[in-house]
């Protein structure tokens, strides 16, 4: 049983083992990794799975046949290392785990991970060597790539690190530099600000529009404007008053600042003047540069050059003066070297160049006439150790202007041994001086000749009255003729005391005041009274010139002229004629008192005024201007014309002018003078006369026409007197005769009344009676006209010519009746006033126009001529009435309302009657 059991157990174990071996085999056969099993000494391969063929690309059979083929396939480079690494396994210390390469039959390499271990028996002794080899080529390649990548990365890290280190170092450096820069900037800013503030140069900084951004304190002083005031102005504002160096106004487009900004370039050194608000000018030199920054425009720097300008001007003036002095003097310095006998000339003028000449050549330039003298002077100076001064001529440098006069001053200089060494000199051009001298001499001679020729007596006299010299005049020497030579004599010995005293007094006055003393005196020379003009002129401090001129003729002419002027003035002042003097343009130069009085102006109101504009009515102005123009052009024969003038009150006066041309002493036309007669009244009378004659002529000719025509018809037997036409003709002629008779009677009556040839038969009359008489006379006429005549007689007395009063009443009543319509009333009333009787004749006729009322009492001034004639009037009735009333000391007038009627009034005074008693 036990055996069985043991057999069973053994069988069971063996079965298990087999099953396991089968399982292992199956597993190994499908295992992707190479599984091998060797004997301990590798002499025999116990097992290799098929994966070997896949990995090693060799057959398992071949390995079984050559068990060491496995080892031989290991890469030669790895064999030694594997041998060492396998040492612990061989020694039984530990398993082997290692990696190596194998070389396949095709030569390709594969990486293998090998784990080799011993298989032990139950007793713990090793029996076999087993191993598992895994193809790790892919992993190895990945590892290698990774390793390469890692290496690269590491390299890059190293490189990056190096870079970073470098950058860091640079950054550190930069930071340091920046800090230093900032420090420097701060310092610079501080320096700049300090400079900006303390620089004597004005600095202004503007934006792109020229508005001030910044300005330093110097700018305030130079521009004369505070910063705040400057801010108010743009750089080209019209407020700036900038002038050029020549003083003209500088336009803004010329400003350095404006140009710098406009042309975008640096503008340097523009000189100009800034007129400060207080009016003073600051001269500046301006430079401007654009600022290439967004918010900036231009920086302007300006230096105050006022002082420099002043100094320059002063220097220029000084230089000019110096140059002028040298050039004007025409001086030349020279030095004659006695050893070389050369002359070295140094010009003093700036243009001239120094030069050297031999003494001989220099002497050749001297005028032949002066040459010996010049040489002589040189020789004498050298020989006698001295100097010389000489005037000589020398050829002019341009050889065209002849000879120049020079004045040479020279001095000899000696060497240490005391021998003459050099001659130094200075020659001055005295040509002009010589010319002036010559001219002066000529002038003196001329003056003397002129003085001798003029008819004045000229005496040079001392302060105390001694005659020093005289230029004799033929006529005036008469006065001192008794003294053949007055020189050295005292004025008292030569002239009458009074005249001498007056002259002495004037001499003192002239010497004291240095003003010429002029007066006139009269001197009897024999029988002749001579007028003299004495002119005393100071001649130095102690002598005077007395110039005595015979002015008798002039004086006589003056007196004559004065007298003539007085007469003319008197005539112009008193003449009853207008006198007016006009210049060529019609401006009043003179108007005499008569004309002024006539016009109502004063002298000052008319002188200088235009005659045509102010004193001639405008409607006649062109005509008057033409008269003057034609006269001045001397084309007109007009010397007479008449025109109205305007008075101050606006009234016109008619003046008849006689015009004459006015010439000056050279015969040049200077205007006109006109003498005029005021013919206004005469003109008016003429006009009235013409009108009167015209009316009278008409009034006479009208009846005469009827008469002559009618009578000619009868006389020529053109019409039969017995015929109807004949009767009409006779009737017309008769009416004409009647009218003419009435007219002649009225004219004569009026003439007699007005000339006082009719003596009024005055007596005390009863007014009632007179009124009744007139009323009765008019009764029939009124009745025929269908007019009611109302007369209210009043009993009172008046001292008058009764018949004439009745004539007046009849005239007024007949007029009233004739000019009234049928059915109206004509009334005659009388009223007693305080001092007079008041008669009134009223009608209800058509009335009289107002403008005629003033004239109806004039001769032939009827309201309507035909009316009067148609009513049998002569045109003289009212004129006769007026004359009669006036002869009685009364008044007559008319009042009227057109269309309503008229009232004729006249008065007779009581006074006359009472006084006549």
């Amino acid at each position: 049983m036990a055996l069985k059991k043991a057999c069973d157990q053994k069988s069971l174990r063996e079965a298990t083992l087999r099953e396991r071996a089968i399982q292992f085999h199956q597993l190994a056969e499908h295992f992707n990794e190479v599984f091998y099993l060797y004997t301990l000494d590798y002499s025999q391969l116990l097992y290799i799975n098929p994966a070997y063929e896949t990995v090693w690309q060799r057959s398992c059979q071949s390995l079984y046949a050559h068990p060491l083929e496995f080892v031989e396939s290991i890469h030669p480079d790895d064999r030694d290392r594997i041998e060492i690494e396998m040492q612990p396994l061989i020694e039984g210390v530990s398993d082997f785990r290692g990696e190596y390469r194998i070389i396949r039959p095709d030569g390709s390499e594969r990486w293998i991970y090998d784990r080799t271990f011993y298989i032990y028996d139950e007793a713990g002794n090793p029996t076999q060597v087993a191993g598992i080899a895994t193809d790790i080529t892919d992993r190895k390649q990945a590892e290698l790539a990774l390793q390469q990548l890692n290496t690269e990365l590491e390299q890059r890290v190293i490189e990056r690190t190096a870079e970073l280190t470098q950058v860091n170092a640079r950054l550190h450096q930069e930071l340091g530099e920046r800090e230093r820069t900032q420090q420097a900037l701060k310092a610079s800013q501080h320096k700049y600000q300090t400079l900006f503030n303390i620089l004597p140069i004005g600095i202004s900084i503007t934006d792109a529009q020229g508005r001030l951004i910044e300005a330093n304190p110097a700018s305030e002083r130079i521009l004369g404007l505070t910063y705040d005031e400057q801010v108010q102005r743009t750089y080209d504002a019209a407020d700036w008053h900038i002038i050029r160096m020549d003083g003209t106004l500088m336009p803004a487009e010329e400003y350095a600042s404006v140009r710098a900004l406009r042309e975008n370039c640096f503008i340097d050194d523009v000189e100009k003047g800034v007129v400060q608000p207080n009016g003073s000018i600051c001269w500046i030199s301006v430079s401007a540069a654009p600022i290439p920054l967004d918010d900036y425009g231009v920086v302007i720097a300006y230096v105050d050059i006022t002082d420099r300008k002043r100094a320059e001007a002063s220097l220029q003036a000084s230089e000019a003066r110096l140059r002028f002095a040298l050039e004007a003097s025409g001086a030349i310095a020279w030095e004659r070297n006695l050893q070389t006998d050369e002359l070295f000339f140094t010009a003093t003028t700036t243009e001239a160049i120094p030069f050297t000449l031999s003494y001989t050549d220099a002497l050749a330039q001297v005028h032949p006439d002066d040459r010996d003298r010049v040489h002589q002077a040189n020789q004498v100076a050298i020989a006698h150790q001295g100097s010389f001064q000489i005037e000589h001529r020398i050829a002019a440098s341009d050889h065209s202007s002849g000879w120049r006069w020079l004045q040479a001053n020279a001095r000899v200089l000696y060497d240490k041994q005391g021998n003459p060494d050099r001659l130094i000199g200075m020659s001055v051009d005295i040509t002009t001086l010589k010319q002036v001298e010559a001219a002066l001499q000529a002038s003196e001679a001329q003056t003397r000749a002129v003085l001798t020729a003029i008819p004045d007596l000229i005496v040079l006299i001392s302060r105390d009255g001694i005659y020093l010299d005289s230029i004799r005049s033929s006529s005036l020497m008469d006065l001192i003729s008794t003294h053949t030579n007055p020189i050295g004599k005292h004025i008292y010995e030569l002239l009458p005391r009074a005249i001498a005293e007056r002259e002495l007094q004037a001499i003192h006055q002239a010497l004291t005041t240095q003003e010429p003393q002029i007066y006139e005196q009269q001197v009897w020379i024999g029988e002749r009274l001579q007028y003299e003009e004495i002119r005393i002129v100071a001649c130095g401090d102690n002598t005077a010139l007395i110039i005595v001129r015979d002015i008798s003729d002039r004086k006589q002419a003056e007196l004559t002229l004065q007298e003539s002027n007085r007469r003319w003035q008197s005539l112009l002042d008193t003449i009853e004629l207008a006198v007016i003097e006009l210049d060529r343009h019609g401006t009043i130069e003179y108007a005499n008192p008569f004309l002024l009085n006539l016009m109502g102006y004063t002298q000052s109101e008319v002188i200088g005024q235009s005659w045509f504009d102010q004193f001639v009515p405008s409607y006649i102005k062109p005509e008057v201007i033409q008269v003057l123009s034609e006269m001045l052009a001397q084309t007109s024969t007009y010397v007479h014309h008449q025109n109205p003038i305007l008075t101050k009150s606006g009234e016109e006066r008619m003046i008849a002018w006689n015009n004459t041309l006015l010439k000056d002493t050279n015969g040049a036309l200077i205007g006109t003078i006109s003498i005029g007669e005021d013919i206004t009244d005469r003109d008016r009378l003429e006009q009235m006369k013409r009108e009167f004659v015209s009316v009278v002529s008409h009034e006479l000719r009208t009846p005469l026409t009827s008469m002559q025509a009618a009578l000619s018809l009868l006389a020529e037997r053109i019409v039969d007197p017995a015929s109807e036409d004949g009767q009409s003709v006779i009737q017309i002629a008769a009416e004409g005769v009647d009218r003419l008779v009435r007219l002649v009677n009225d004219i004569l009556d009026l003439e007699r009344l007005e000339s006082g040839k009719v003596r009024l038969e005055k007596q005390t009359c009863d007014i009632a009676q007179l009124m009744t008489r007139a009323s009765e006379e008019m009764h029939e006429l009124a009745k025929q006209a269908g007019i009611t005549l109302k007369v209210t007689p009043q009993t009172c007395s008046v001292y008058a010519d009764g018949d004439r009063i009745v004539q007046v009443l009849i005239n007024l009543l007949s007029n009233a009746i004739k000019f009234s319509s049928s059915g109206t009333v004509v009334q005659l009333t009388v009223a007693q006033h305080e001092k007079e009787l008041y008669f009134t004749v009223t009608d209800q006729g058509r009335g009289i126009p107002l403008d005629k009322l003033d004239y109806i009492f004039e001769r032939f001034h009827q309201i309507d001529a035909s009316d009067s004639r148609a009513k049998g009037g002569t045109g003289l009735g009212l004129a006769i009435c007026r004359s009669i009333v006036q002869q009685h000391g009364g008044r007559i007038w008319a009042e009227s309302v057109l269309g309503a009627g008229s009232a004729f009034h006249f008065t007779l005074p009581y006074a006359e009657r009472l006084s006549d008693g």
């Binding site: 002529s697 025509a709 009618a710 018809l713 309507d864």
Partner: protein, 130 residues
């Protein structure tokens, strides 16, 4: 108007004096056989001239209202009347008075007073009436 049978000349006298008008009428009729139309004023004369169209007008100068000059000017500016010859009759015989007529385009002037045959003679001359 028939050829060979001239119409009787008709003259208009404008004068405010009835005596003058009458004597002119008798004279012209008796001596020349002319017919005379009469007007006592300028206005009346113009009215008659417009209706009657006389062959000539004798015009007094010194008349009330419209005087001779004013009347002439109205005739002269009237298209219907301006061709009628106008002779002024005037008592104004002074040279200065006659001067004012010089500028008027009148046919002629006859001065008052006049004899009847002379009046006709002068009219014939002025008007060139045979």
């Amino acid at each position: 108007m028939l050829k060979g049978y001239p119409m009787v000349k008709r003259v208009l006298i404008i004068d405010d004096e009835p005596g003058i008008r009458k004597i002119v009428q008798i004279s012209l009729k008796a001596i020349a056989g002319w017919e005379v139309l009469q007007a006592a004023s300028g206005q009346e004369g113009i009215a008659i001239a417009q209706t009657q169209h006389p062959d000539a007008i004798l015009l007094d100068v010194m008349m009330p209202g419209l005087d001779g000059i004013a009347t002439f000017q109205q005739i002269h500016t009237n298209l219907a009347l301006q061709n009628i010859p106008v002779i002024l009759l005037t008592a104004k015989a002074q040279p200065n008075e006659q001067q004012q007529f010089a500028e008027l385009q009148i046919a002629g002037i006859i001065t008052k007073p006049f004899k009847a045959p002379d009046l006709v003679h002068q009219l014939r001359q002025i008007l060139e009436w045979d």
